[in-house]
Symmetry: C2
Subunit: 110 residues, 2 copies
DNA sequence: TATTTATATTGCAATATTACGATATAGATA
DNA sequence: TATCTATATCGTAATATTGCAATATAAATA
């Protein structure tokens, strides 16, 4: 169907999925990596950096922003983007949990 | 278009995106969480655990397996699944990098 | 071997995502 | 105010994802 049955899952599961999904595109990975590199930059810089048209970048930025992974502030007539700690903190615990589990798991699978 | 221009991005960016995308569905989050809880289990257990039909679960398991996040071994006529350390190790560095960056970033955005 | 049990695959409908040209909007500047 | 610059939104085409019924496959057991 193409429609995810979110109502059958917990809020936490849906939230983690939304965050991971937002990260799950190479352009959005590239945007995140670029923001780490330059700390903060305007949308136009990202358009110059990536091989995608301006409306496409704008759309990817919107998705990252909706997921709470980046934030943007007006700076003149441009918009300055940077990472949003809040979003990343929400996934942090999930991966730490997995890592702790995997490190302590002595017995091989099955 | 719906087609991701993966050829324009680095292998690392595409790989990270594939992993995050595989995690980006509540059912697959639930599967991962269940596998952490019970360490390993057969497909049928997951079908009983989640509110989705057997073919749908099978498809989600396939995606997690293709991404390298779980592995399955035959156990009689059933298949026993558990987490695959390899896949999770690949994303580990990415999030650690982000966390280190965010912890050290003193200056506010923009 | 026939049947049962467990999982995968096929086929398909509904919906979502990706990408971009065209256009709108909003602040800066001449 | 007219124009420029930067970004967002709209509309749309191409493709991908989600979900499941029906069916196939493969190992276990009667």
């Amino acid at each position: 169907m193409g429609i995810t049955k979110s109502e059958h899952f917990t809020d936490e599961q849906n939230e983690l999925a939304t965050l991971a999904k937002a990260i799950g595109h190479p352009a959005r990975i590239a945007i995140i990596q670029h923001l780490i590199k330059v700390n903060s930059c305007v949308c136009g810089d990202i358009v110059n950096e990536l091989p995608l048209a301006q409306p496409t970048i704008s759309q990817h930025l919107k998705e990252l922003k909706n997921a709470g992974l980046i934030k943007g502030n007006f700076e003149g007539n441009a918009i300055c983007y940077c990472l949003n700690e809040e979003g990343f903190n929400k996934i942090k615990g999930f991966f730490q949990h997995i890592n702790t589990y995997l490190e302590n798991k002595k017995n091989q699978c099955c």
